[in-house]
């Protein structure tokens, strides 16, 4: 049963409605409110069934970016216990991209995007309203009821909460915008949108760079690092003052000359636990044998790339990675040739191991995350193209051997996992 469902068993005399003018001899109707609170829904919609002892149990929340839903994984039980709709735009494909849970606030946040491909064909749709704004939604952790929403820009890509959980940062992987304004770099830029996590008011819109995707916030919450796919750069955005500044640092020497066809395509970011390094995973639009994807360290103390900690020698394109528990290595999911690589976090930098997965083990690994139980959880997109839309899954990896030891089924094109204990 839903823990928030209240059953107030008292009479409440709510309304007195005077019918006609208030004079003598009038008929006055007094309405008696029922004993259930309004909109308390007769049915319980909570995914969470506290059964003594599970209150501290951990769950994984997975955004299904092509399925209008978030899947809830019971890590201990080893199964997916719920798949809950999160969209707010009727009939459309509401694609949640990445997510975060604030347990203390009892909230789940996820930005919804409405990709051009989701606009169906019809005479009016074809007139081209494909750039509808995204929506950041805030839903209750216990039963996913809608708590708030804020319009963001079109094609939100990634979101992160500030360390103090007061602000939500949303990036926009807006390739449509980049293509719509050839030659006009300013107009091509996507914005960092900042939303107040409590009120869900959009407080700031900062134009940053072309098609930004992955984001990392500094431990003090004053700096946001963004992967600028179209610019071949990292953006260092200071957000601690009323006058934000944006500093673009090219991955290799210079910004991409044509932002719709970058050379490197920085896509995903992975922070070090001490905040001194942000690892940049590049996903080149035209991969070649010599450039399947650059994986390189960005030193946040100097705001420079550290070429001594970089490789283009991975067997696939790197995505969202994670640090090992001891901090000595980073494990990186790879696509193209689907697999994982382990690279050293401490100098000297080297690729320690690489292994490929069969398509049953993991198809299109997107994000790797170290779970609260020490195991690795690998979000596998599965097959999703124009022809086939199959469900993805989350593979469980042994932290030492990186062998696949388990699997949770989720929805279509999962793109992120976030761990939290159940509602408080």
């Amino acid at each position: 049963m839903n823990p928030t469902r209240r059953c107030v068993r008292s009479f409440r005399l709510l309304l007195v409605l005077a019918v006609g003018a208030a004079g003598c001899g009038d008929e006055i109707t007094r309405y008696v409110a029922p004993d259930a609170s309004p909109w308390s829904a007769a049915t319980s919609n909570s995914w969470y069934a506290p059964d003594g002892g599970t209150r501290d149990a951990w769950f994984g929340f997975v955004s299904n970016s092509l399925m209008n839903s978030i899947s809830v994984l019971d890590l201990r039980a080893g199964r997916t216990i719920a798949t809950l709709p999160v969209g707010v735009v009727p009939l459309a494909e509401n694609g949640p991209h990445h997510l975060a849970v604030d347990r203390a606030a009892g909230a789940v946040f996820t930005p919804l995007s409405f990709p051009p491909a989701s606009i169906p064909t019809g005479p009016h749709a074809a007139h081209g309203s494909s750039t509808r704004p995204g929506v950041l939604v805030k839903r209750a952790l216990d039963d996913f009821r809608l708590l708030g929403r804020a319009d963001v820009d079109a094609n939100p890509g990634d979101m992160v909460l500030s360390p103090d959980r007061t602000r939500v940062f949303v990036s926009h992987y807006d390739l449509v915008r980049a293509q719509a304004h050839p030659g006009d770099r300013e107009a091509q830029k996507s914005a960092l949108v900042i939303v107040d996590a409590r009120t869900m008011q959009r407080t700031r819109t900062i134009p940053v760079c072309v098609a930004a995707h992955g984001m990392v916030v500094s431990p003090d919450g004053n700096t946001v690092y963004m992967a600028c796919y179209g610019d071949d750069a990292i953006a260092v955005v200071s957000v601690g003052t009323d006058t934000p500044t944006v500093n673009l640092v090219p991955v290799r020497g210079q910004l991409a000359s044509n932002p719709t066809a970058p050379t490197w395509g920085p896509y995903a970011l992975t922070p070090s636990p001490d905040g001194r390094t942000v690892w940049v995973s590049c996903s080149p639009p035209n991969p070649s044998a010599g450039n399947r994807g650059l994986f390189i360290a960005f030193d946040t103390t100097t705001n420079t790339f550290d070429t001594s900690r970089a490789t283009t020698g991975l067997i696939g394109t790197p995505y969202f990675a994670t640090y090992a528990a001891d901090g000595a290595s980073i494990v990186v999911p790879l696509q193209g040739r689907d697999g994982v690589a382990r690279v050293s976090a401490a100098p000297p930098f080297r690729v320690m191991s690489q292994q490929a997965f069969t398509s049953e083990e993991c198809t299109l690994p997107h994000q790797l995350s170290r779970g609260p139980d020490g195991r690795y959880y690998l979000v596998c997109e599965g097959i999703h193209d124009r022809v086939r839309q199959e469900r993805g899954w989350v593979a469980v990896l042994d932290p030492d051997s990186l062998a696949v030891t388990g699997r949770f089924d989720v929805g279509v094109f999962p793109d992120a996992i976030y761990f939290s204990q159940g509602p408080q």
Partner: protein, 249 residues
């Protein structure tokens, strides 16, 4: 539970100077509000809940409502064909999307009355209408082909006349912002460059436009406040016959 339901009756108590007091459940007020377009406080809204929903399923061949019947709705596991799991959110979509209301008003006295009314249509222990309702909205909309005008007029009477009034004149339409059809659509589209969007001739393009508006209402790239009509509420044949009412000069 729901003790108030028993205490419904008109408990008429005589007040000081001859006023009479009737005591009624809040659900009764909700029932009145369900037919009242003023409930959302928008001067532009002409719709009431019962413009688009009936309480019980209408008889076959009777009026066609775009929204599901509301008996039992409060106990359904999901709404809007699985897109929503909370009753308030299901109603909020209608309230803000069709009726131009402000979402937070649903938590005010009128919203509470509506909630009580919906609850009263789904009393504890009842099963009527409590299964989830499925509606299918075709994403891809094409020219349905040439239909039958006479049959189209009959469908119009069941599905469209309640808002748009009489074909041609719009007599009796629900509000001044509701299109007069087919006039407004012809004025808007009969000089479009339809080849832009890949239709063989103007009539085919127009039929596809009417089909799209009927199937998607104000959603999926269209705008406005008209509700969408799913496959379950109007068949493809019925939509084709409706489209036959729209002919460019």
């Amino acid at each position: 539970m729901k003790t108030w339901m028993g205490a419904v009756a008109l408990a008429c108590a005589t007040l000081s100077c001859g006023d009479t007091e009737r005591v009624e459940p809040l659900a009764a007020r909700g029932a009145l509000l369900a037919s009242d377009p003023r409930i959302t406080r928008s001067q532009y809204n002409a719709f009431a809940c019962l413009t688009c929903h009936s309480v019980d399923d209408p008889p076959a061949g009777g009026r066609v409502y775009p929204g599901a019947s509301l008996r039992g709705a409060a106990r359904r596991p999901t709404y809007w064909s699985g897109e929503v799991t909370h009753l308030r959110e299901a109603v909020e979509r209608c309230w803000t999307g069709f009726m131009r209301g402000v979402a937070t008003d649903l938590d005010g006295p009128d919203g509470q009355a509506l909630s009580a009314w919906l609850d009263s249509l789904a009393p504890e222990g009842s099963t009527a209408g409590t299964a989830a309702v499925t509606r299918t909205y075709p994403r891809v909309v094409r020219d349905p082909g040439v239909g039958d005008r006479t049959r189209g007029l009959a469908v119009w009477g069941r599905a469209c006349a309640s808002c748009h009034g009489a074909v041609g004149t719009g007599a009796g339409r629900i509000g001044p912002l509701t299109s007069v059809l087919p006039r407004d659509t012809l004025a808007e589209h009969c000089d479009d460059n339809f080849t832009d969007v890949g239709y063989a001739d103007l009539q085919a393009y127009l039929r596809a436009s009417v089909t799209e508006k009927t199937r998607h209402g104000s959603f999926l790239g269209y705008a406005g406040v008209m509700p969408p009509f799913a496959n379950e509420t109007l068949t493809d044949d019925e939509v084709r016959d409706l489209a036959a009412l729209f002919v460019c000069p």
